[in-house]
């Protein structure tokens, strides 16, 4: 089980909501900092300024708002902020630019596959989903990549480039493992997400 930073009970005015975001512990008071109905995406974007995640559909259909909760991809528009109590949230701002997934998305230009991004609006969501996929399965087949990223929409249509970038990133994960450089592929690249990496797949119904 994930390490929790507070009691499970949450949502009352007297219990502060504790969420670790990009390694930093935040405390929120319901009624003052957020409302019971405040979504995680709203808290992160509107209140805290983590604008890397995007809200494009606000109903769990497109994946643009994906962040990691304890290393798993979650749709932050479909999570209430109070549900993140006691959990670790990682947004794209918490990743260094040297992150192998970010690098692979940025560098993809292999002939025949196009680039992995055009307008870039969906990209942070794809990057975070890809992080979660590789956390769980550092060695995905092309079919597993398709399945794993099919909750995200890229209207510019860069799916070929994205799939290729994820393959390249997975190779980095694998070689990093053998060279003993990177942390265990199941860990976040920042090494912060630890125990929960061995959890089962994300609950069904979280994605389109």
């Amino acid at each position: 089980m994930a390490k929790r930073y507070g009691k499970r009970a949450h949502g009352t005015k007297n219990t502060p909501i504790k969420i670790k975001i990009n390694g930093q512990l935040h405390e929120f008071e319901v009624g003052r900092d957020l409302e019971p109905e405040t979504t995680l995406s709203c808290l992160l974007r509107e209140k805290l300024g983590y604008t890397g995640l995007k809200v494009a559909c606000d109903e769990g259909a497109c994946g643009a708002c994906t962040v990691l909760m304890d290393g798993k991809a979650v749709l932050s528009c479909m999570k209430l902020a109070v549900e993140a109590h006691g959990h670790e949230i990682l947004t794209i701002e918490g990743l260094p630019e040297s992150d192998p997934v970010i690098q692979a998305f940025a560098k993809q230009c292999e002939p025949g596959y196009g680039t992995a991004l055009q307008c870039g609006f969906c990209t942070p969501g794809f990057v975070m989903t890809a992080k979660a996929l590789l956390n769980e399965n550092p060695n995905p087949t092309p079919e597993e990549i398709k399945e794993g990223l099919s909750g995200n929409i890229c209207r510019c249509g860069c799916y070929s480039g994205i799939a290729r970038a994820v393959q390249h990133a997975s190779h980095f994960f694998r070689s990093g493992q053998s060279a003993g450089q990177a942390s265990h592929p199941a860990h976040g690249i920042d090494g912060k997400c630890t125990e929960h990496a061995s959890r089962g797949p994300a609950p069904k119904g979280d994605k389109r």
């Binding site: 509107e46 559909c57 794209i92 292999e110 991004l117 055009q118 099919s150 929409i153 209207r155 510019c156």
Partner: protein, 796 residues
Amino acid sequence: MKLRKSEESVVKTPYTPRVARKFIGAYRPRIDALEKAAGKVEFVDDITLKSRYPGMLYAKVMRSPYAHARIKSIDASAAERLPGVKAVLTCKDPEVASLKPTSAGWTDGVDTVSYERMMWRHFRDRRVLGDHACWATDEVGAVVAAESEQIAEEALRLIKVEWEVLPFVLDPIEAMKPGAPVIHPEIAPRNILPKDVVGGSDVFVDRGDADKGFAKADVVVEALSVHHNATQASLDNWCCLVDWKRDKLTVLSNSYEADQSRMHISQMLGLPINKVRVISSYVGGQFGRGDTGDQPFFLFTALLSKKTGRPVKFRHSRRESFHDSRQPAIYTGKVGAQKDGTITSMYFKSIGNSGAYADHTMFALKFAPTEITEVALAHIPNVRMESYGVYTNKLPACMMRGVGNSQFNLIFGHVVDMLAEKLGMDPIDLALKNFGHEWGTLPDKSLSAVLREGAKRIGWSAKRHKPGAGPVYDRVKKRGVGFSFHPAWHAEWQEARRGEIRIRITVNPDCSVVLDAPTVETGTGSNTCNVLGCAEALAFLGVGPGDIVWPHTVDTETSLKDCVQTDSAVSYLQSEVTARAAREIKARLLEKAAKLMKAVPEDLDIADGRVFRKAAPGKNMTVRDVFRLGDMLPIVVELGCPPNAEKTGVPYIANFAEVEVDTSTGRVQVLKLVVLNDCGTVMYASGAEAQQIGGQVIGVGEALTEEIIYDEATGVPLNFNWIDYKIPTMADMPEIDPALLEVWRGAGEYGACGIGEGTVTCTPRAVLNAIYNAIGARIDDIPVKPEKVLKALGKA
């Protein structure tokens, strides 16, 4: 990074450039790739957070619950009393009611025009916040500014409206009949848009004598094709922040044109142009959304800002972003040919469902097909086209990636396929026998190249069989191949309407470069084309793309006029001007160097960052030294040139599809798409491939899954969300093989042609022809849902 063996097998062959160049045509990351991958770029919704604008209010607009209705009375007093509400404007307020009637199609996006010169000035059917709702969810009646979006929404619910519910009509054929509900009686008494000055009369092309041409034909085929109103579905919902302080109005916008937005706002609100400032930063996808962006919401948001003295933000929810769509069209086509395949006559008629407002309906229905007649159909002696745009109470339809062309291709590729079958010819041979452009001979080299290459890559000769007569897989599945082709757009000569393309290059004393080539960054890749073009043109300085800064923000107060992201043409239009400006840079640099080297400029030349005497290359100095030892002033060259109007025809594009149809369920799966573009010159290979591959998401979506569904009983759209409006995901997309070719060549330094929009155009027809080849039954309307397949097979 090396891939595993299983992955290496799919490594693909890069295209071969016709002319070897240093930077142009490269496979490389976009200039903004790392920023975007790291989530660092900021879109308008990101830069307009309340933390950045503490006094900011949020606007929400009332939307009609009825497909057709009038507001008889409106009472906003309860809304005004709600705590947190700072302003309410209704259709009865004089500042709203006095606004001129307008259109969301002022220009086709290439140029900036005034109110008087707007493109569809005879169809000014839109009122800003009027009392006449013409489709369910139309913006009408009232708008609220409040401290939060929730309060604004609550306030809207408190506004009491007495509606006069009017009869409505959704189908254009029904709308044309006598007695149908009339939507804009002052413009179109029978809902049929009148003849207009831009599109011309209802019969808008009448070359030769089509009837005589059919009489001479040995074979005649007739066909129907129906294209629906897919929506652009940019992820970045429409959003703006308007701050009207004293006499000046500043707009942050994700519209894809800044200069025209400024003109629109200035003209509609009666402000001097220099009192309106429009800033457009990164835009999360465009695809033709909002015609030219002349949207009423800029105006009512501005009025709310004026009334409250505070910045006001207005943004669409996803539901509200179903705001415009492709122009649906019901096309009938007829083509006649002699036995040898020589086409004697062609006739096309379209009925377009304009939806609630005319906007650019007639651009799609007349303008685009007219262009096609000038090029692809140049060798057909008899051609007649007629078209009718019809008002209904549906979502307005207008520009979407490949405006008008996608709809025309659906019928064009249909009749070609049918005629070939009837003649017993290969459709590739039939195409090459008849289609090219006015400035070339048949067979057209470009068309031949794209079709031959496509045939090779899809395995045409091995896989094409008699309709429905191929092998059966898994007892119930049948496969087929098909293709469609289209003339590309736009070559430089077709962009003459734009007027001057203006750019500015600044070479600093350290040889770093600022390229001011403004265009709103919507993701198309033109920013990278610009920088590659600039690096290519300034290669003599010894600089590369990394030395060039391209400001991504267009700000009408500080930038040159933006070259609007339309016609897929920006990528090379600005580079052509940059190439000229670079020659001027060189001349200025030689003058500077001549003084220091005690020579005349004519005796000097520059290469790889060094100025040298032509007669004695050993005598040289670095460009940096020219600055360092000279006046240390940057060289700034600003240049405006109209596009080269030399008529050079156009190249061709094509898509080949292989599909598998499950005859028991009706499910169609696209197995492979080959996307071919003759680019003239590939400006940026990775970007071009991204457009080719990316366009298929819209193309396959339009062909198979995307559709706006209405409740016929109420006229209310039912699926304004991305659960029920089905955009293909990675799991839905087939293998895509992008093929870049350089066969045709236009005028100018690069002689390139746009490709972005065209990548979508041929996909639905290629898929439909492949389905026919698989099952031997034609389906005339898209999207091809399983029930249509079963019906075509006589199973439903």
